[in-house]
């Protein structure tokens, strides 16, 4: 399937609307990507100002989701899309939900920076898992970027390339949890900071889950196949035949 097929309808109005949907998702995705970049920079430098910016930005992302819903409803009501057009609508609605949730998770990362700034003093020990947090967040951002490009090109092959990253994220996350748990025992006086780190770690791991959901939506769009909740074996088989 190729993107240009979505602009080859006899109805130019439908062509325009579907093009708009693509653009809206890419724009919204770009916002979340940007939000993630800011969060990474806030995490790196402990920059509270940027962190607050990230939190404020969440509103805009929420609006984008509603805007996309509105457009989807309109296309459904007025143009009765079928086949891949219909799948595009459903995929778009789902992707917008995942992007909005990603925005929420990024906010949790930013709030960690704000908290750390307030809670004095956060000792070195309370930074257990912090490097992994940055690592997972960076990987999630890359996964998001990949899926957005895959969506723009309507390519399931491109989308599934994030699966390798997902595996690494899993391992890093497990290690980080272990490290933080150990610090809980060793430095119980840091419990407040460590809890914050744990929350942020979970948020960063959720980011990669949402990127994975977006991948699934793209597969649905391209292949018409719902791969959510497929067990690993069936999924691997399915992806091999892509």
């Amino acid at each position: 399937m190729q993107k240009k097929e979505f602009s080859s309808h006899i109805s130019n109005q439908l062509n325009r609307n579907l093009e708009e949907l693509f653009n809206h998702i890419l724009e919204m995705g770009g916002m979340v990507e940007n939000q993630l970049d800011m969060a990474l920079s806030a995490l790196g430098n402990g920059d509270v100002k940027i962190a607050k910016e990230v939190v404020r930005f969440d509103k805009v992302i929420n609006q984008a989701e509603m805007e996309i819903d509105r457009l989807c409803i309109r296309v459904l009501a007025r143009q009765q899309p079928t086949a891949s057009d219909l799948r595009l609508i459903l995929a778009t609605i789902r992707i917008a939900i995942d992007l909005e949730r990603m925005g929420d998770e990024v906010c949790k990362l930013a709030k960690l920076v704000i908290k750390f700034h307030k809670t004095e003093p956060c000792t070195t020990a309370s930074y257990a898992g912090y490097a992994e947090l940055v690592d997972i967040t960076t990987r999630s951002r890359d996964m998001l970027k990949t899926t957005l490009n895959a969506f723009a090109r309507v390519s399931a092959e491109d989308a599934i390339s994030i699966l390798d990253q997902e595996e690494i994220v899993d391992q890093v996350y497990k290690k980080a949890r272990k490290d933080v748990t150990e610090q809980f025992k060793k430095n119980p006086e840091n419990v407040e900071c460590l809890l914050e780190v744990m929350t942020a770690l979970r948020a960063s791991e959720r980011l990669s889950d949402h990127a994975l959901n977006i991948m699934e939506s793209i597969i649905y769009l391209v292949q018409g196949k719902d791969v959510r909740n497929m067990d690993q074996e069936r999924l691997t088989k399915f992806l091999e035949n892509l």
């Binding site: 080859s8 309808h9 006899i10 109805s11 899309p81 086949a83 219909l86 018409g224």
Partner: protein, 271 residues
Amino acid sequence: MKEVTSFSMNSASDKLKLENEEIAIEVKDWNLYYGSKKALNGVTMKLPKNRVTAFIGPSGCGKSTLLRCFNRMNDLIDSVSVDGDILLYDENMYSKHMDVSALRRRVGMVFQKPNPFPKTIFENVCYGLRLQNVRDKQVLNETVEWALRGANLWEEVKDRLDENALSLSGGQQQRLCIARAIAIKPEVLLLDEPTSALDPISTLAVEELIFELKKDFTILIVTHNMQQAARVSDYTAFMYMGDLVEYTDTDTLFTNPKLKQTEDYISGRYG
């Protein structure tokens, strides 16, 4: 406590499968020519009983031609020649021994343009019964009411059954023709664009009627309205230039057709 292990919404996830259906009509390698011009090209398909099967495809692809084959209406056209087999419950429709008027009683047809006879509403509906020499007044009355109710027309005409059918509106005439077709209780009902002349409300009424009627009849419908095919049918056949291109359950055809040609047609793309 009962353990919940799976979730299933019947209407949404139970997919129809042709393999599981009882078959009313089977078409085998069916070809039709108008003179030397081939209009149907080796059509092979099984049409399930008590289901609605829709035929879609661009103008001139052979939908009406195929539909007319199912009650041998094409016999009336001199230039037509055919080969292949069409079975109605294992009986060959085109065998020498087939009684064609009996066949047409078993397979009724409603045309695109309503064509009531210039007679009373009552006489229109019991026309087929009179041909069968049914004289019993009570049987006639009951059948007329049943058929008019079935066609969703009874309430509108019950007080004017003696009026000329041509005084009805287009939509009423079309429902009258449906009543006339079902009055003889055929096994199969052929509908060739039955709502193309109707307003949206009458169209929905006829669609609702089709849904009701499939309990008792096997229904084959030709329609240019893709949304209508999607709404009323259980199976959809996409035809192109005399070929049966793709034929599957309607859910699949409208959400994930196999062939690009089908996709382009149903989603209104340049082929």
